[in-house]
Symmetry: D2
Subunit: 161 residues, 4 copies
């Protein structure tokens, strides 16, 4: 297990490769258009998507801060949720009925009040019924995560749910 | 363990009783004033607090809905987070530096698009360093929860953190 | 939401009532026989099952203790996992392929070294693809939980997985 | 955030570097001796520890299998718990009173019935009161994780708890 880090990257790449043959993967452009139509009030920006991963950026202003000059927990949870959703859409295509079934978030450090929040999601599994991924959340430009989330997406079947 | 439900209620009541002797418990009024000053943009309304528990209501309008007419996940996470925070403040007093250290949420049912979200928190432990509670989230007037959360609050020590 | 506790009980009862019409619910005896055949090495004892809930007891001896005279975390996790599994089987019948998809456990208090661990599970949702429940874990005879878990079970479809 | 993977590694290395100056870090040998004395019945083998990480191996035999030839969930939870504990001891020294405060595990794939389980833990934060880490769990020799856990360790203060 010496090369566990490398193995893990290989694993992620492999998931992506397997999924790529599925006809209904969504491109970054399709996802951005879908989100803009479906969530016009969202401030999240899709930076990257594909390869079983996604990177999301959320600007931080007065509305995102709480006393003491830190970014509110719900903003971090929103970025984690959207990063997971975008990564899943990137693999299974635009499936509006895919819904988060659970999310666990650990808050690690105080975010910077004057930096965007960046969420980097990597999917660990994309099954028929469930997708599972983790999201590392950063204050932009910082290398140490401010929070870490793991979440599960429930993928509806044709005609189900 | 036949009367586990009753036992559990007793247990919650007991935590509350033990805590009540701590001089620095906050009243509902103090908490409402603190939240209004500290989080002026929050839409959460404190309905009840005390006895190691809290009930929070969040109105649902266009800003809280996502396509398909359901309440967005981040709104539910926000209510869970605030309900925990208020319940903790009700026990330890106004300690602005108390912060969520983690939160796990399970989404159970589609919320009603035209009902407020009500979060009912019960603390299971209020220790020196950590408080742990669960929150059941409902569409107002419905008996079946739309989501369930468990969270941990980290309580700073005098001079610590 | 004044009667949230009562509401919650009603909600659990209602889930149970709805499920009861499904032909394939398993009885306590069927579940005990299934577990004995499938997990001969398990020490868990099924105390009660039905009504979208289950109560499990696990004796505590030298093998379950860790230094300092406390019950090891994995024993508590085992009881939580089995309590969820038994409650799910009680609703959907003997479905050996039902598997835990995730589990979150919070450790609250030091268990007694000389008491059995009792796990009381209540299901919050039994859907077609997922069941979600919570488990309160006690040192037998004590009213305050030593741990609390929330878990999700993935229910396979006929011919799926 | 293009180099998020690399950034994350840097971040882990930096945590390790900062901690290295703390006098009371434990070596692999010290940890193995401590675990052998404290948990004589444990089957976990410490493969690596240091640098804010740890690798644990747990052999799989009849006692670890459940019907259908898969490794039982509690074995995976045990490896996750021990990997976190060892990684934490590697940073803060032999502190027997450090206890898991919570653990979330997602089960991703069916483990091989004839391979050891390997858990690779990386700590994301080592604070004064809490340490947080994630654990990827593999069937030995496989690159795709069978499960993923995130956990929190509560670190007692001198004279506290």
């Amino acid at each position: 297990m010496r090369a566990a880090g490398a193995d893990m990257l290989c694993s992620f790449t492999r998931i992506a490769a397997v999924r790529r043959v599925r006809a209904h993967m969504a491109t970054k452009t399709e996802i951005i258009e879908f989100l803009a139509a479906a969530f016009p009030q969202s401030k999240c920006v899709v930076e990257e998507v594909g390869n079983a991963s996604a990177t999301i950026r959320h600007p931080v202003g007065v509305a995102e801060l709480r006393p003491g000059g830190t970014v509110s927990g719900p903003v971090l949870m929103t970025v984690a949720d959207v990063a997971l959703y975008v990564a899943v859409l990137g693999e299974i295509g635009i499936v509006p009925l895919a819904v988060t079934s659970n999310l666990t978030i650990n808050f690690l450090r105080k975010p910077s009040p004057d930096k965007s929040i960046v969420g980097v999601c990597r999917l660990m599994k994309v099954g028929k019924a469930l997708a599972v991924g983790e999201v590392a959340l950063y204050s932009e430009g910082s290398a140490e995560p401010v929070a870490h989330a793991v979440g599960t997406y429930s993928i509806p079947r044709a005609g189900a749910r």
